[in-house]
């Protein structure tokens, strides 16, 4: 028999985060995963849960400037951080160059992996604004896409890199 803590033992922790420029404060259970906080508490469902085992990268968000898998992090760990999700990319109704490039290059079919891939590409281009094709492929190796075969995703990221340099 396994024992679990009773409800009375559950202690809530107060966290403050800034997501896409908006400040939020909530009391959360420490075991609440960051991706569940983003989706279920904040209602930002653009960040997807794919494998839930930190393999697929669908849950990738930018946390204090670094891409992380939000299914493998507790919301309490994000206390005091700045988070960027796919919803925060477009500005004033204008798509981000990465979003545009994914659209124009047909870099998605079912679209499930797309938010994670775009957020990972966003981090990649910040680290390396001039990536080679190989660097892009390595850079997105933590994101799985089961439709496209990656070819158009790589093309889109290259196109966005060009656009963002202009």
């Amino acid at each position: 028999m396994t024992t679990t803590a009773t409800k009375a033992e559950v202690k809530l922790y107060h966290i403050k985060v800034n997501v896409n420029g908006v400040d939020y404060e909530h009391d959360v259970e420490p075991r609440l995963l960051l991706v569940h906080y983003i989706r279920d508490v904040l209602g930002l469902t653009g960040t997807h849960i794919g494998c839930d085992t930190s393999n697929c990268g669908a849950c990738t968000v930018i946390l204090n400037g670094k891409s992380v898998k939000s299914c493998t992090m507790f919301a309490v760990q994000a206390n005091g951080t700045k988070i960027l999700t796919i919803e925060g990319l477009a500005k004033n109704g204008e798509l981000h160059p990465l979003q545009k490039a994914f659209w124009e290059n047909h870099a998605l079919q079912c679209g499930f992996c797309t938010p994670g891939l775009i957020m990972q590409a966003y981090w990649l281009l910040q680290e390396n604004p001039n990536p080679t094709e190989e660097e892009i492929r390595k850079g997105i190796s933590g994101n799985l896409c089961r439709c496209t075969g990656y070819q158009n995703i790589v093309k889109a990221i290259m196109a966005a890199a060009k656009e963002m340099k202009r």
């Binding site: 679990t4 202690k11 922790y13 075991r31 995963l33 670094k66 493998t72 206390n79 933590g142």
Partner: protein
């Protein structure tokens, strides 16, 4: 029947101390029931699968001065909380011990390397961990702290068994110390994997130094995923010492290293026989690359 595996960990109490002293005091208070959370790239998946359910989590990510890469005399010192990404990109390491950057670049995937830490993965002691073999090849020394004392231990005495280290429940890994390699040195980490970002089928870390006459004066060989823990290919190292390294010597050393591996059959990553054969191939290739690099190539 829908058999859903819960992906939400069991409840736990969470602490995020801001000093090392506080963390060590908590470790002492909750001896054996607390787990340190560093990058969380191994711990959190285990908690989600409920293979591990600690009652207390001590998150050390808010402690300053646990993440650094610096030189002191003829030693490199790496803080336990240093992320793989920072190791991979360190200009200092690229200059002095590039094998650390190369090994780090093979760990997980970019997002995992943004979070994952060198101390966390060594403490986790997964036999498939890449960095363990690299630290074996470099004969690293580990600084371990508890509330009342600090001790140093060589990497060979640190790994005890699968997922088991010499760390006591009240202790935490604080720093990894590595001696500068001699002048003509080179290393290489080669990894065979089923797909990008997977754990190794087998992987080999090698580091060698040559003296003025081109004779091997240092040899370090660490093996990944082919035994109950990261292994040192001691006999192969001894065989290389004092010899001029040529294809024949390297071939023989690789053969010895393969005989020192203790692989197991596994349905995902191949038979013991296959893995042993791969240890030979990888050791041979890694030694050749290391030799070339030691010669300035």
């Amino acid at each position: 029947m829908f058999n859903y595996v819960p992906m939400i960990p069991r409840p736990f109490l969470y602490f995020s101390p801001s000093t090392e002293e506080e963390a060590l005091a908590l470790l002492k208070d909750y001896k054996g029931e607390a787990k340190i959370l560093a990058g969380g790239m191994s711990l959190i998946p285990l908690m989600k699968l409920r293979l591990v359910s600690p009652s207390y989590i001590i998150d050390i990510n808010r402690i300053e001065n646990l993440s650094y890469i610096k030189t002191e005399g003829d030693k490199i010192k790496i803080g336990a909380l240093t992320r793989y990404h920072d190791i991979e990109r360190s200009e200092l390491l690229k200059r002095i011990l590039p094998i650390l950057c190369e090994t780090a670049s093979w760990v997980g995937d970019p997002q995992v390397r943004n979070m994952g830490t060198i101390g966390g993965s060594l403490s986790h002691a997964d036999p498939s961990g890449d960095m363990g073999s690299c630290i074996i090849a470099l004969r690293g020394e580990l600084v371990i702290k508890s509330e009342d004392k600090e001790r140093r231990i060589g990497i060979d005495n640190f790994f005890v068994d699968t997922f088991m280290t010499a760390l006591q429940p009240n202790e935490m890994l604080k720093e990894i110390i590595i001696n500068f390699p001699k002048e003509k040195s080179g290393g290489a980490y080669l990894k065979l994997e089923r797909r990008a970002g997977d754990f190794a089928i087998a992987a080999v870390a090698t580091q060698i130094s040559l003296d003025n006459k081109g004779i091997c004066s240092y040899a370090g060989i660490g093996l990944t995923a082919v035994g109950p823990m990261n292994l040192r290919a001691k006999k192969a190292e001894d065989f290389l010492l004092g010899k001029e390294l040529n294809d024949k010597v390297i071939e023989e050393a690789a053969e010895i290293a393969a005989s020192e591996a203790k692989p197991m059959d596994d349905p995902l990553r191949g038979s013991a026989e296959y893995k042993r054969a791969m240890v030979k191939v990888l050791t041979k290739r890694a030694l050749k690359i290391a030799l070339n690099r030691a010669r300035g190539g």
